[in-house]
Point group: C2
Chain length 358, copies 2
Amino acid sequence: MADGPTINTIAERAGVSIASVSRVLNGLPTRQETVRKVMAAADELGYVRNAVARSLKSRRTNQVAFAMADIGNPAYLAMLRQIQPVLKAAGYRLVLHSTDAVVADEIDVLHGLGERYVDGLIMSPLRVTDAHLELLAAARAPVVIIGSVPEGTRVDNVRADSRTGVRLAVDHLYSLGRRRIALVNGPLDTVPGAARGAAYREALEDLGLPYDENLVQVGDFYRPEGGRAVAELLARVPDVDALMCANDLIALGALDVLRAAGRRVPDDVAVVGMDDTDLAAASWPSLSSVSLGSAERGKVAAELLLERLKGGEHEPRRVTVPPHLVVRASTAGAGPDERAARGGSREAGGAGERGAGS
Amino acid sequence: MADGPTINTIAERAGVSIASVSRVLNGLPTRQETVRKVMAAADELGYVRNAVARSLKSRRTNQVAFAMADIGNPAYLAMLRQIQPVLKAAGYRLVLHSTDAVVADEIDVLHGLGERYVDGLIMSPLRVTDAHLELLAAARAPVVIIGSVPEGTRVDNVRADSRTGVRLAVDHLYSLGRRRIALVNGPLDTVPGAARGAAYREALEDLGLPYDENLVQVGDFYRPEGGRAVAELLARVPDVDALMCANDLIALGALDVLRAAGRRVPDDVAVVGMDDTDLAAASWPSLSSVSLGSAERGKVAAELLLERLKGGEHEPRRVTVPPHLVVRASTAGAGPDERAARGGSREAGGAGERGAGS
DNA sequence: CAAGAAGCTGTAAACGTTTACCGTTGTTTG
DNA sequence: CAAACAACGGTAAACGTTTACAGCTTCTTG
């Protein structure tokens, strides 16, 4: 691994100055003869530009960081899948951070912006603390936040609308004739847990349905916990006819328990999940789910950041991505025809394996 | 965004030379008084080291690239999830490339190593072409390949053993008393397709079962195609009692079709998938699947790379990660107890949402 | 044909660090 | 008290680029 050729090596071999070499490599106007000599020398030596030196001088790294809370979370993964191609097309490399939803790690990432190893950052913080805000205000590179920030924070941000999302689901269940609609939620001290709880209550009110505490069960955002929560719920309120689950994993747990209890889905109990992950399409019965537009949020965030990087100084922008409901078998009375078509749903293809393994 | 302070700003304010500042910041022996002055100045100014300048001088970027074929593929994702923390713990940032399984993109990445924006690379190429080999031989930074490379290639590599994987599955089905074991494969012109086809044949032979062409159906590595393939198979060989599917998506398609056809799983037909993705645990019935150790391969690859980066020049290493079979309901006659436990399988937790959305 | 313009190219400085080398100061010791 | 030595800290070069500026040709034009 001998040291590679530099611009100096080329200059020497081509018999010109390093300035000329640089000009040729950057396509600046140069005499044809010089171009030829430099190109020839560069080719022979297998020259490749040193990105680090270039960054130092130009003050641009052509790198953008994405700090995701958890690689394993399909919602963040969906963002990543959209962000990556957008950045790539614009000539940026992607530096990936997984903060494991630990605030200290997020702070580290923000602080690290000062190291100038990236030109910008997209971050989806679990929750926004004062430390976040302080660093955001002083950030030495553009940042786009995926999620909500306090009113008045001068940062571009892209948010979901889980409130409308919950409403979509509840309205859907109502339109199917369900009147005992329960909420299976995650912890209330999390941002999404609290938001979904409040939205559920509102949605019921607007429909003129009574809010019944017995119909709300709090567990955690995982499958076994979701199942347990539903089991308790069934014991307490046997006549429940619909479950609004705060995410897809909870909904899968619900399906497990309903099946074990001999309740038919959707005939006896209809089930709606949230986030519309791959798992929703894969489960049996396939799961109706509210998409909060994770993919779209990722895409928009990347585009906002690119605009900033292009230089236009403008006011911080705030974009809200609307949710939408994806109806599948767990709420539609799925006949045999629909079953056959189910496998072809949007998500199934994307999760495909093309050539792994061997 | 005024230009941040540099080592010069600090030197000025502290009344010392830049050399002293650098020494203090790097913890080299320095008089206590000087340390104090420099630290104070650095703190007041909110100084952060410029990573680019540092890299230029030190010739290390503290970045490692991972070139994955497809972000959407759960197998590669599993690798990423293991690679990330290993690198992070060692102080490296992760630059993520998605090559979309396009050879030209992979070549670009290898060529890009010359830009020296990373200290090393982990790559999982779809297939290895001559162009790959040429660039690998001349690579100016350590590379670890996840997958197979031709004998004699001087590169660290980590490979799966899908042959043994297929055998594990077939043996398992045999041990359950199944004798009409079909293979539902993907295209034979892909590396995994070919390997799995051959391994299936071998496994049957070793068990003394006849190889029956009718029992082999070729489709594609996706769910709807998998379903179609199984439909044809059932029409042709109604007495089939077990399906070895070349990946989990095919297996999910198989479950769809078997259910529609009124065949009970596993009682009438047992089904095994491959890759052991999240979907296997989520489906109903949950899917037995052969894990080819994607996660483990990622971890090992990262460790091999770190060793290289630590400097020891040693012979290229080749590690083969053994596959293992994860038995779930689609082959075990699952009683009610096992059903309840199902949600707690290894994969389910990891896919959890902790705080997305809001 | 002289003078000015236009087109290239080379010199050198700069980006922000790290570090080899040398000079200064203060301490120890014969 | 002088000499030797240790401990620090400053100067300057280097990492590999880009680019402002000035100098040299060559061409155009009056």
